[in-house]
């Protein structure tokens, strides 16, 4: 079976995302209505039972995250729309096709944790989405669908690290987007020091459908331990470089060869990097794997944001990884030493190898440095930065070897 399963994107291009009435006409805001009649504990329990796990990349059970929020007078619901992983644009697509579902999902979260203020942190690259969302919010408020739940949109300014939830909070507060030490986690001490739930766009957008159709319905879609659908974006050497929504037990090879239409220009496959630029490079022998969080993790990769960057047989892996290492050097916020120095040295060594001046010792140093960064960096950026390097040394060592000095 290799078909899309559209839940979030069922009415893509059939409704105006800015218009609440369009969304209501196709059954929208029924989940929120139901959620508001439920006891908040039961509502959290229902989300927990659905098995919905964070779609931003960390894969944490959403209901469980909410259950950690202590009672407090003021709490916030924050939506992470800072998708900065190169190759990823699924949150933009969800907003462009079904923004009202995001707003409804945030309001459902508000009902669960007893908050009436939400923030959407939108990346600075998407000023047109900020406008779309502000119109969508106005329309939803006017229709009365959101009730007393308010949502404010704040725009980032081009910092990848702000996708990390505590850096995102710092940025909303008007500071440099540097991650905080955890604990305390945002659920306990988040935006302006009060309990805050931060979830990804796609996670929120799943909620209306879960509440309306029930936890069992959602739990029955896709992979058992990471149920539901996932919006994927395909880029690189692929015939159909576009987005798809699939059940989470969908096979990676079907993403590439069925939905993606195979490698561009009839060339052969070399590698796919899944989860954005911080993801592992996956060789051909591992393609027969479902895309869900745990299956990808079991083979040393990650579903991450759901981006799939496909490379054909002619691509130079070392050159691409060198470019990726520049990305991380640029995006490291500089707060912690393992990341600030580590991303700098990774880039330096990768450039040395890529220009034909590297030795075996450089590869050993990359392996050691990568291990240190994975363990010692403060946030996910520094921990994930060496993954493209480590995974390509594991699966494509010959591409490194042929660039080393003794073979030049």
């Amino acid at each position: 079976m290799a078909e899309e399963r559209r839940v979030l994107l069922e009415y893509a291009d059939k409704i105006n995302p800015e218009n609440a009435q369009d969304y209501i006409n196709v059954g929208g805001y029924k989940g929120l209505e139901k959620a508001r009649k439920m006891d908040s504990k039961d509502l959290i329990q229902e989300v927990k039972r659905s098995g919905l796990r964070g779609r931003g990349g960390a894969g944490f059970n959403a209901g469980l995250k909410w259950s950690f929020v202590p009672p407090a007078e003021v709490k916030y619901v924050v939506c992470n729309l800072d998708e900065g992983e190169p190759g990823t644009y699924k949150d933009r697509i969800i907003c462009e096709k079904n923004a009202q579902a995001l707003l409804e999902g945030m309001a459902i979260c508000g009902a669960a944790i007893n908050s009436n203020q939400g923030y959407i942190y939108c990346r600075g690259e998407y000023p047109f989405i900020v406008e779309l969302l502000r119109n969508a919010i106005n329309s939803a408020k006017e229709s009365g669908a959101l009730g007393d739940f308010d949502i404010e949109v704040r725009m980032g300014a081009g910092a990848y690290v702000c996708g990390e939830e505590t850096a995102l909070i710092e940025s909303i507060e008007g500071h440099r987007g540097e991650p905080r030490f955890k604990p305390p986690f945002p659920g306990v001490e988040g935006l302006w020091g009060v309990p805050t739930v931060v979830n990804n766009v796609e996670t929120f957008a799943c909620l209306p459908y879960i509440i309306e159709n029930g936890a069992d319905w959602f739990a029955g879609i896709g992979a058992q331990k990471y149920p539901g659908t996932k919006v994927l974006t395909l880029t690189g050497d692929i015939e159909k470089a576009t987005y798809f929504e699939v059940p989470t037990d969908y096979l990676l090879k079907d993403v590439i060869y069925e939905l993606g239409g195979g490698i561009k220009g009839g060339k052969k496959f070399k590698a796919v990097q899944v989860g954005g630029t911080s993801g592992a490079f996956i060789p051909e022998q591992n393609l027969n794997t479902p895309i869900d969080f745990d299956s990808m993790g079991a083979m040393g990769a990650a579903l991450g944001s759901g981006a799939a960057f496909v490379m054909d047989e002619t691509r130079d892996i070392v050159d691409i990884v060198t470019r990726i290492s520049k990305f991380f050097e640029h995006e490291s916020c500089g707060k912690c030493n393992p990341c600030r120095e580590g991303t700098f040295r990774c880039r330096e060594i990768m450039e040395k190898i890529n220009s034909g001046r590297g030795t075996e010792k450089d590869i050993d140093n990359l392996l050691l440095l990568g291990r240190v960064m994975k363990k010692a960096a403060l946030c996910g950026l520094g921990q994930a930065a060496p993954i493209p390097i480590l995974s390509t040394i594991e699966h494509f060592k010959h591409e490194y070897s042929r660039k080393l000095l003794q073979y030049a």
Binding site: P86, Y89, E125, G158, G174, R176, W192, T233, F309
Partner: protein
């Protein structure tokens, strides 16, 4: 041209809104002029150092004067394999400036950027944040003709 004091004043009640103010200032001036930055710091009750710290942390904010049109060339991996390097070289040649510089007539500033989230049509450039798809060296004169 709007007065920077009015721009700051109209955003002053937004908690933590200094970044919002910087965006609003850039919309008007394309960068954050020094006197506006100092005024924003004063209104939001932060030091000038903190305000500079914020303004220089984010790639999309600039405390240096920039041109009327800010051209950004995406360098991230999907654009890289699609030929972003050639687009950059061609753009530098066409404008006669290097990345990070502004043309002498004050019209174009050329910047490099990481992923702009339009990876369905690589390589991508943006001009004042508007994405332009499947860019090639040959298309550059035609693209820029629309930004006078």
């Amino acid at each position: 041209m709007a007065n920077y004091k009015d721009i700051i004043e109209s955003n002053k009640d937004k908690e933590g809104g200094v970044i919002e103010v910087f965006h609003a200032l850039q919309k008007e001036f394309n960068y954050i002029p020094e006197e506006a930055l100092l005024e924003a710091a004063r209104v939001f009750g932060i030091s000038a150092a903190q305000a500079y710290g914020v303004a220089t942390f984010y790639s999309y904010l600039s405390v240096e004067k920039r041109g009327k049109y800010i051209i950004r060339i995406c360098e991230s991996a999907p654009c890289h394999v699609a030929g972003a390097d050639e687009v950059l070289k061609a753009m530098e040649n066409y404008l006669g400036i290097k990345a990070g510089e502004t043309t002498s007539d004050g019209k174009y500033t050329l910047e490099l950027t990481e992923c702009v989230g339009q990876c369905q049509a690589t390589p991508v450039i943006t001009i004042n944040s508007e994405p332009i798809f499947n860019v090639t060296a040959a298309k550059i004169p035609e693209i820029l003709a629309a930004y006078k």
